[in-house]
């Protein structure tokens, strides 16, 4: 039996298994994409100086709670953070470096929209300290980009990729597949073309109809036709795995592919269930304080958030996560990784073993493998990962 004190000690240190990151949310875009449920808004005017002050003040606040840590990663997400002033980015990076000790290989990623990439600004981001860019290319042909409501062309995307590559060693881009009327052959060809453009990392997402989006409305009214059936979706995913494998890009996560060593280290913190602080409207965090892990979330409306910074209550009430909740989150995120998870950590977090019978059952079905103290989803299991997780979720 473990005594309560040692249990606490385990929890206090659990995040160290995955590291510590900073997420900065920039909530503005040039146009709202109809499929997007991110906290992103189109603003007429942005008072950049007010936003810089707000971010810096928030940085100080979250840093005061997470002292004596080494910061591994910073991620500027959105929205479209490539619309930030590079100076703003620079100020945030500099301040972060002054508030925490940072890793030698500190990874600093910025999300960019091909419609808002200019060579001059990209050089500015580089100078500000950004060392990795993730570009939302989404599709390689103009009719599909239009149907996705994107403001850029395929050519714009190629140009943006070129500019990004000139400025940064590490460039990734996103594609969305399973689009309206897309065929399996069409996607295979497009993906192969994409891989000629990519270097060492790519994110490939199947289009999801998210609640509350314009696509969801259209879908509910029967408008959004030609979306893939479950079978076609499965075939597309399988083809995606096969083609990426042929190009030596490992599927290290459900939708993320990289040469070994080029994975997004920031995102790995999420999937390995590390700690991260989140600042900016709607930003979430997972922070261990005094051996308790908290889920944090900021006010999501940009103007309300900005106003709240001055009164120092940008956060919604924090949720303290129970051991079981932590174990469940660890499980849900960890099974997304091809490396899988260590059941000993699940036990340490939740104080209960992962249900052995269920694991065995899922192994027998060919959904999981359990070897060398490691549980991971097979390809078949990953295709139905939600069902696998539902079986295993405890509570």
């Amino acid at each position: 039996m473990r005594s309560p004190n040692s249990q606490q000690a385990v929890l206090a240190d659990d995040w160290r298994n995955a590291g510590f990151g900073l997420y900065v949310h920039w909530p503005f875009c040039q146009a709202k994409c109809p499929y997007c449920d991110f906290n992103s808004h189109v603003a007429r005017e942005i008072d950049h100086s007010a936003w810089v002050r707000a971010y810096l003040s928030e940085l100080t606040r979250v840093a005061s709670e997470t002292q004596n840590r080494v910061l591994n990663t910073i991620y500027f997400g959105g929205g479209t953070p490539s619309l930030m002033n590079p100076d703003t980015t620079g100020a945030i990076i500099d301040t972060a470096k002054s508030l925490w000790r940072v890793a030698n290989d500190l990874e600093i990623t910025l999300e960019a929209n091909p419609g808002s990439v200019e060579a001059g600004r990209f050089a500015g981001f580089h100078d500000a300290g950004v060392n990795r860019v993730s570009l939302g290319v989404q599709a390689l042909n103009d009719p599909d980009l239009r149907r996705l409501g994107r403001i850029h062309t395929a050519q714009d995307a190629q140009t943006a990729l070129g500019i990004a590559r000139n400025c940064f060693d590490r460039v990734s881009f996103d594609l969305i597949y399973g689009r309206q009327d897309q065929t399996l052959a069409g996607w295979k060809a497009e993906l192969k073309q994409a891989l000629t453009l990519s270097s060492d990392h790519i994110s490939l997402y199947q289009l999801t109809i998210e609640d509350g989006t314009a696509f969801a409305d259209r879908f509910a009214r029967g408008g959004l036709t030609g979306l893939p059936s479950e079978d076609l979706g499965a075939d597309m995913y399988q083809a995606t795995l096969d083609i990426c494998a042929d190009h030596d890009l490992a599927a290290y996560e459900v939708s993320n592919f990289a040469n070994p060593g080029s994975e997004s280290r920031h995102n790995l913190i999420y999937w390995r269930y590390g700690d991260y602080v989140g600042i900016g409207p709607g930003a979430h965090g997972r922070v261990t304080i005094d051996a308790n892990r908290y889920a944090t979330e900021c006010i999501s409306a940009p103007d309300k958030w900005l106003a709240a910074v001055n009164t120092d209550i940008t956060e919604l009430p924090r949720q303290m996560l129970s051991p079981q909740e932590q174990a469940n989150e660890f499980l849900m995120m960890g099974l997304r990784l091809s490396k899988g998870l260590d059941p000993a950590r699940y036990l340490a977090l939740g104080g209960r073993e992962l249900d052995r019978d269920k694991v065995k059952y899922l192994c027998d079905l060919g959904m999981l493998t359990f070897q060398n103290n490691n549980i991971c989803a097979t390809t078949q299991g990953r295709l139905v990962l939600n069902a696998v997780i539902r079986e295993l979720l405890a509570g």
């Binding site: 989140g278 979330e297 997304r336 990953r382 696998v388 979720l393």
Partner: protein, 599 residues
């Protein structure tokens, strides 16, 4: 004490929805029994389920006082009855307590199946009948045509039929006058030994069992010691009263009067409807003719979706049964569903009402197994067993033959839908017995097996006739036929909740329909699932539900964690609304939906 000649007792009978309860409202209102501000529509329909569905389920008695145009004051006891065929028993026993009936016919609809059924009952009970043409405010009302129909189809004089709008109150005064002048007063002897008929009884959480009685002879008083003649049990009368419609105490009930008594009776089951109540000493020597209690005709299993709720279900069922003697239950265990109850009902509506009440008032999710009727199983050794549950079907090698209950069904339908109705009855193994016309409406009489009618016949009839057909039935006899047990196997495991008795000739079609339905109703799993229908060991229909191929969240980052986890947890909870058979989760709705035929 009221002179017998100043009492009138009557029931209000009609086809469903023809306006009985609304008419009762107007009679109550016109006589000032209830103040205007306390009135509400169909005020006698007090159960939630009655108000929600807009139908009457329990008969209700009200005493009203009316001073007629001739200057005399009368006491009128009215009984509002239900129209739905499942509750026909309420009508028949109510009629035993009164001397006359108001036969309400919706003048925009005309004579319907329960109009006929009720008239025949009223005639059997020797009632004087006052026909009422209701809803004359509706544009579609056609009193002359309907009066003619009453004369043609039913054969009673409708020249004096009163034209009423229970909605506007038109014709209510005439109705009251007709009650006084056209219905007979009760007869009875105040000085003879007490004879009171036990008409109904129910449980009240404050007063215990309340007994509705009709005094025939003698007088019933508080403090009297009485004897129930069926079992010689003795009781001290604690309270006597009448319904106005709230309970109101009275000192005594004399001959011809209707009211209630309480006597520290613990359970409704300790009272027997139709029983005769007499005085302990100097009582009557021969009881009243009495009448048979109602018999459940439809049986099914009720199981909690969450097996941990079995005790709650036991409590809910026993409470409901306290108040509803026509509902029977006993414990049942099923290999797949665990503990539950085998319950008997008067019909499908009755089943639905009870199930609804358990789910709503007691918050228990239920799995309802395939409804069944009672079969007679004649064994090789000459014994005969009642079979209420297909799961109890004995080994065929011991069975000589089986009999099933048959009904006589009367259906009234506009001519243009007749073809569809005949086809429906034919498909359900019906034998046509009669076909006559009343104007543009056909009246068909069919001999049908009850098991083909029990489940969704009424729904189907309504849908093929766009709601224009009406239907009434009663049991006739048991008849031998070629019946087999159809079992359903999901992932090779038998699901006894879905097994049913069917005619051999219909087994393939039913089996096929069931497995096809189940294939749509069961969600895809991580593995493929064979779904089979079988008779004995022989599979007669098979479908395969293919394995789930894709269910994975494409994007899941730090900001999504909370939401995505909640979603998965919610879906997992949703799974708890299902029952596991082997490794297969079958949703609660599937059990009922799989049994429905023809879409």
């Amino acid at each position: 004490m009221t002179d017998l000649s100043h009492i009138r007792n009557f029931s209000i009978v009609a086809h469903i929805d023809h306006g009985k309860s609304t008419l009762a409202d107007r009679l109550i209102q016109e006589t000032g029994t209830v103040k205007d501000r306390d009135m509400q529509a169909q005020m006698l329909d007090t159960m939630d389920i009655e108000r929600e569905r807009g139908i009457t389920i329990k008969a209700n008695t009200v005493r009203i006082e009316y001073t007629a145009d001739n200057g005399h004051a009368y006491i009128l006891n009215l009984i509002d009855t239900p129209g739905h065929v499942d509750f026909a028993y309420e009508v028949s026993r109510s009629m035993r307590a009164v001397e006359g009936s108001l036969l309400v016919v919706d003048s925009s609809q005309g004579v319907e199946a329960q109009t006929l059924a009720n008239v025949y009952q009223a005639i059997d009970a020797n009632h004087d009948i006052v026909p009422i043409l209701n809803k004359i405010d509706l544009p579609a009302s056609d009193c002359d045509r309907v009066a003619e129909q009453i004369e043609d189809v039913i054969g009673i004089d409708a020249t004096g039929a009163i034209r009423v709008s229970a909605k506007t109150g038109q014709g209510i005064h005439e109705t009251l006058e007709a009650i006084v002048h056209e219905l007979p007063p009760p007869v009875g002897d105040r000085d003879a030994p007490l004879k009171a008929m036990l008409v109904d009884s129910w449980y009240d959480s404050y007063l215990g069992v309340i007994v509705l009685v009709r005094v025939m002879d003698g007088v019933l008083k508080k403090g009297d010691r009485v004897r129930m003649m069926s079992n010689d049990s003795l009781h001290l009368i604690e309270r006597i009263g009448v319904f106005r419609p709230a309970m109101e105490k009275v000192d005594e009930l004399g001959p011809g009067e209707i009211g209630f008594l309480t006597a520290s009776i613990k359970q409704v089951r300790d009272t027997k409807v139709g029983d005769t109540i007499t005085s302990e000493r100097g009582g009557a020597s021969t009881p009243l003719p009495g009448f048979a209690p109602s018999q459940p005709v439809v049986f099914c299993g009720l199981f909690p979706v969450d097996s941990a709720e079995f005790e709650d279900l036991r409590e809910a069922i026993s409470k409901l049964a306290l108040n509803d003697a026509s509902f029977s239950y006993e414990m049942e265990t099923s290999a797949a569903l665990g503990f539950g109850f085998r319950c008997g009902f008067l019909g499908l509506l009755h089943l639905e009402v009870i199930r609804d009440r358990i789910e709503r008032e007691y918050d228990i999710d239920l799995i309802t197994t395939a409804p069944s009727v009672i079969y007679h199983v004649h064994m090789r050794d000459g014994t005969v067993n009642d079979l209420h549950n297909p799961a109890d079907m004995p080994d065929l090698t011991f069975v000589d033959h089986m009999e099933e209950p048959r009904i006589k069904a009367t259906i009234l339908v506009p001519d243009e839908y007749l073809g569809d109705v005949l086809k429906l009855c034919q498909d359900r193994r019906g034998i046509q017995m009669d076909l006559t016309y009343a104007g543009a409406r056909a009246m068909v009489v069919y001999d049908l097996p009850l098991n083909e009618v029990v489940f969704d016949f009424y729904d189907r009839l309504k849908s093929v006739t766009k709601g224009y057909a009406s239907f009434d039935y009663h049991l006739t006899e048991y008849r031998q036929d070629n019946l087999v047990k159809l079992s359903v196997l999901v992932n090779e495991e038998p699901v006894d909740a879905l097994s049913m008795m069917v005619h051999r000739d219909r087994a393939e079609a039913r089996g096929r329909a069931m497995v096809e339905k189940l294939k749509d109703l069961i969600p895809r799993h991580m593995f493929k699932i064979p779904i089979q229908a079988a008779i004995g060991g022989k599979v007669i229909a098979r479908e395969t539900l293919s394995a789930m191929r894709k269910d994975v969240t494409a994007k899941c980052y730090g900001g999504d964690m909370t939401r995505k986890k909640k979603l998965l947890e919610k879906q997992k909870k949703g799974k708890k609304k299902m029952r596991e058979f082997g490794k297969v989760s079958i949703p609660q709705e599937a059990f009922i939906s799989a049994l429905k035929l023809d879409g």
